[in-house]
């Protein structure tokens, strides 16, 4: 299940859904991303984040997330999977993204959930703009996120890497 929405989500409701869908799951791994109040800054000044705006590319967002879930299901035992990503205006401490995976064994649940997050970070069209007392700015992508995604690439001629 893939959802892109402005409203908040309830992790208990998602967890119940995963337990119901997955008949004989032994493991449920969930990831929740929260809006941090202080982001790394290129300067030494780190003003408090007043709000965060999440822009996305409607249509492609859902397509990218479905594709990522499909890849995860092809690689691991995934009995149930839920991905929710919020868009629009958020505040410090808000929930921003949820990934829940139910599997027979924990190894598959951990791997699939982390894989989905690593791909979501670098392959799903979302962009964060933060507003602080020092003004608004688009958040720069982190090289660590691209490196995290590349760990999962087994075929290094993967055509989804732009060149």
């Amino acid at each position: 299940m893939i959802l892109v929405q402005t409203q908040d989500f309830d992790i208990a409701e998602q967890y119940c859904g995963l337990r119901e869908e997955a008949a004989n799951a032994g493991a449920i791994v969930t990831f929740t991303g929260l809006v941090r109040e202080f982001y790394e800054s290129t300067t030494t000044l780190e003003p408090r984040v007043e709000s965060l705006f999440l822009e996305h590319y409607p249509g492609m967002t859902e397509k990218a997330l479905v594709d990522i879930e499909t890849q995860a299901r092809a690689r691991w035992d995934v009995q149930a999977c839920r991905v929710i990503h919020r868009v629009g205006e958020l505040r410090g401490g808000d929930q921003i993204v949820y990934v829940g995976v139910a599997s027979t064994h924990r190894g598959d649940a951990f791997a699939a959930a982390e894989f989905i997050m690593d791909y979501l970070k670098t392959r799903a069209p979302f962009w964060k703009r933060q507003s602080t007392s020092a003004g608004a700015q688009w958040i720069e992508s982190r090289a660590a996120d691209e490196a995290a995604r590349e760990r999962w690439v087994t075929d290094k001629t993967d055509p989804d890497v732009p060149h």
């Binding site: 069209p125 962009w127 732009p162 060149h163």
Partner: protein
């Protein structure tokens, strides 16, 4: 003459002052790289930002593609900076 839909997102949208538009596809433009060069030709140097592959990703019909991706006309092309969701 066929056309393309072009979308710009996030910092790139603000930088170029362009969000979505329809563009005629000239006969000599057969791939994404040539489309970018064409945009720089007709819009000016500020659009050369699109030529930086490390800072600008391209999607055609909502799938990320390399600059060598062939264009036939009718596609939805999007330019955007590296993603920062999650």
């Amino acid at each position: 003459m066929t056309t393309l839909t072009i979308n710009f997102f996030a910092s790139l949208r603000e930088e170029l002052g362009a969000s979505a538009e329809t563009l005629p596809l000239p006969a000599q433009v057969t791939n994404v790289g040539q489309l970018v060069d064409h945009l720089v030709d007709i819009r000016g140097e500020r659009w050369a930002a699109l030529q930086d592959k490390s800072r600008v990703l391209v999607a055609v019909d909502q799938t990320i593609v390399p600059r060598s991706h062939v264009l036939r006309g009718g596609e939805e092309v999007a330019f955007f900076p590296p993603m920062t969701g999650g």
